[in-house]
């Protein structure tokens, strides 16, 4: 008796599941059939949570309110890496979203996935004017003279420093160090030691973050990968195992060795916390956390910002933009593609980008946003951000500062971080560590390229 009823229950549950699935399935098809009346539904995957996620949701809601004929369904995907992994599965099962936020280093993979529509298609179709968009930002996402995706959230790294500590150490608080050599010298002066010589407060804290290494290469106008940083043709090997790469690691390791810089691991949250709580005088971090730093410091000391340092004598370098862009996925109806394009245009329009900048601290991707009154007020409150804009505009556009394109960029970044760890711990020379990382990544590049060709 009991056995039977259990069976019935299971069968019932299964039936219920089938019903739910068919109902939702029906919902989709009726949407397609009832075009004209029903709004066009598009799915948007976004990948940054917290206050950035809240701002994203606000913009989506605003768009939906303003466009009764389009319904954007925003789905949070956890983080950039998870989003890309879910995309891989959705490509295999042919259920991709319409629009997706993908991080900078996912660019090569997105192109190679052959599952995307370059936004250039719609720019050409509508003769859309991109002249007000930041040139350096467009340059990153332009491959083979085509703008593949629309820049959305953009940041660069900055040098953050504690002006009060600079004053106390007899340094000019309005003149942050500009070169590796100056940073090293200032860090020494800013380092405090107890009577036994033990460091109680290091002058500098820098997280082991592959992105910083990429920036320091670009500052020296050095490329990360061959074939014009992977932009003239698919990169077949990396080129970060260069004298410029070694210079970065040597500089960093020397500071850690003499105690003027501290190795706190890979998390920028940890170095930021140390800076905010006055346990170090300088740090490198993204422009995106400027607001967090200012809130955390809350007037306890004066925060200064400066350009990313570069070795003395290096020229024509600058910063690479980081962050993410909006991609349009292929395989959807024309109506959906058009709706996606409307959505992408909206998200990167001046008014929205001004709101976005104020809420998140990312750069406005269009210079027209700087005319917005709210934004002017915000930037007057945080003059530190001006340095970031200056740094971006001072950066010449060349293959180095456009940033490398590599299908296995996440792996490359991981290998670089591993190499930095070995060098900082004194377990390998800069040259050997970079060579080992290059060998591993080159194997991966070869495998990646062969799987793309197939």
């Amino acid at each position: 008796m009991q056995k039977k009823s259990l069976w019935k229950r299971i069968a019932g549950l299964l039936l219920l599941g089938v019903m739910v699935m068919s109902i939702t399935g029906c919902g989709d098809s009726s949407n397609e059939a009832g075009k004209g009346k029903e709004p066009t539904k598009i799915v948007f995957w976004y990948a940054v949570g917290g206050k950035v996620g809240e701002a994203t949701k606000t913009l989506v809601k605003e768009f939906n309110d303003m466009h009764p004929d389009i319904k954007v369904e925003a789905v949070f995907q956890g983080d950039y890496d998870s989003a890309i992994n879910k995309l891989k599965q959705s490509i295999a099962s042919k259920s991709t979203p319409n629009v997706m936020q993908v991080y900078d280093i996912g660019t090569r993979f997105m192109i190679d996935s052959k599952a995307v529509v370059p936004v250039q298609k719609w720019i050409d179709k509508e003769n859309f004017d991109t002249s007000s968009y930041e040139k350096n930002i467009l340059a990153y996402y332009t491959v083979d003279n085509k703008l593949y995706s629309m820049p959305f959230n953009t940041s660069t790294p900055l040098l953050y420093y504690n002006k009060d500590m600079f004053k106390a150490a007899g340094l000019d608080p309005d003149n942050p160090p500009k070169t590796f050599e100056e940073v090293a010298a200032d860090a020494q002066k800013l380092t405090q030691r107890d009577s036994s010589g033990k460091v109680t407060r290091p002058g500098m804290a820098m997280a082991i973050y592959g992105w910083f290494f990429e920036q320091f290469l670009a500052e020296q106008n050095a490329q990360y990968a061959n074939n014009g940083n992977g932009r003239d043709a698919m990169a077949t090997a990396v080129s970060f195992n260069s004298p410029q790469g070694e210079k970065v690691l040597n500089w960093w390791a020397d500071m850690v060795k003499n105690g003027s810089a501290v190795n706190m691991g890979r998390k920028t949250e940890d170095t930021m916390k140390a800076f905010v709580s006055g346990q170090t005088a300088m740090t490198i971090d993204s422009t995106g956390v400027l607001g967090d730093i200012m809130d955390g410091v809350n007037g306890k000391f004066e925060v200064g910002t400066g350009f990313m340092p570069h070795p003395e004598g290096s020229a024509n370098g600058g910063v690479i933009i980081g962050g993410a862009s909006l991609w349009m996925l292929s395989g959807h109806s024309d109506a959906e593609e058009k709706a996606s394009w409307e959505f992408i245009k909206f998200m990167t329009a001046p008014k929205q980008q001004a709101f976005w900048h104020i809420k998140t601290g990312y750069f406005p991707v269009t210079t027209a946003a700087y005319d917005d009154d709210e934004l002017k007020k915000y930037d007057a409150k945080y003059p530190q951000f001006k340095i970031a804009i200056e740094q971006l505009h001072n950066t010449p556009i060349n293959r180095s500062t456009q940033g490398g394109l590599l299908g296995v960029f996440t792996q490359a970044r991981q290998e670089i971080e591993n190499a930095i760890e070995h060098v900082l711990a004194g377990q390998a020379s800069s040259q050997d560590a970079l060579q080992k990382a290059a060998d591993t990544v080159n194997d991966a590049v070869a495998r990646y390229n062969s799987s793309v060709e197939k």
Partner: protein, 280 residues
């Protein structure tokens, strides 16, 4: 008939993925993980010749040792402590079982704050007793131990509950007759408690080893396999290879090896440890 529900679940969630992994491990695959051309055993030979894989294997075994042994010893101690008829002992039992109810992610986030080098509680206490600060997660010597601490903390609750139920199943009369024969308490523990608890201990041991070999959440959240690969256990390596490095074949080969490793460990325990188990 009874077996069909569980069997179908097993087939869908265990056997099919297992066979699929084996298949993936002998094929090359494209960017989204679909098989393309036959690769034979090339991924296996690449793996066995890779120093990184051997390192991962070593880290995995070390991690298992670090977590299983203290995890069971602490749980045994706690279980004996709460196996008494004191007033309010239920409160302690609840407290010890508490970590069980916290998800890996939650526990990891809590420990991330405790481990924080500049604002964490652990370093604050070290400072109070004039010891140098420890970079719990960013020092290659400490990272694996730090992650192991979380795993131990998480597993002790479960182990304690299971061991406690084992202890309570031991009839009081046996202890009574032992006391009449003049056995002191540690004698009782060695000669009565341990043998009668051995089936439970055996179970806890097997489950702990399997859990330790499959630990992923803490490592993914706290160290991402670093620093200097010090916490790059096999499960984490599989995750990185498959989902970041688009190296599905290699990752599948690793997962097959991990499966075999768990199988061998479990068989080993059944063959050798079970002989010492005393079933009544």
């Amino acid at each position: 008939m009874y077996l069909i529900p569980s069997l179908s679940l097993f087939i869908v969630f265990i056997f099919y993925p297992l066979l699929k992994s084996i298949k993936l491990s002998i094929f090359n695959s494209d960017l989204v993980g679909r098989e393309t051309t036959f690769a034979g055993f090339s991924y296996y030979s690449e793996m066995l010749n890779s120093s990184q894989f051997l390192h991962s294997l070593l880290v995995t075994l070390l991690f298992t040792f670090y977590t299983v042994v203290p995890g069971i010893l602490i749980a045994l101690f706690l279980a004996c402590m709460v196996n008494s008829e004191l007033k309010g002992i239920a409160i302690f039992r609840t407290i010890f079982a508490f970590p069980l109810s916290i998800a890996v992610a939650g526990a990891s986030m809590i420990f991330m704050m405790l481990f924080n080098p500049s604002s964490g509680v652990f370093n604050y206490f070290l400072q109070l007793i004039h010891l140098p600060a420890v970079f719990w997660l960013s020092d290659a010597h400490w990272a694996l131990l730090s992650v192991a601490i979380i795993s131990i903390w998480r597993s002790v609750g479960f182990n304690t509950i299971v061991l406690l139920s084992g202890l309570q199943a031991i009839p009081e009369q046996i202890y009574e007759s032992a006391r009449i024969d003049g056995a002191v308490s540690w004698r009782q523990f060695i000669d009565i408690t341990l043998p009668l608890l051995s089936p439970t201990l055996f179970f806890v041991c097997i489950v702990s080893v399997i859990n330790a070999l499959q630990t992923f959440g803490e490592i993914n959240i706290l160290t991402q396999g670093g620093p200097m690969e010090a916490t790059n256990v096999i499960v984490y390596s599989i995750y990185r290879e498959a989902f970041f490095n688009t190296n599905f074949g290699y990752a599948s080969a690793e997962s097959v090896v991990l499966f075999l490793l768990i199988l061998i460990c479990t068989l080993f325990e059944f063959c050798f440890l079970e002989k010492k188990v005393f079933y009544r």
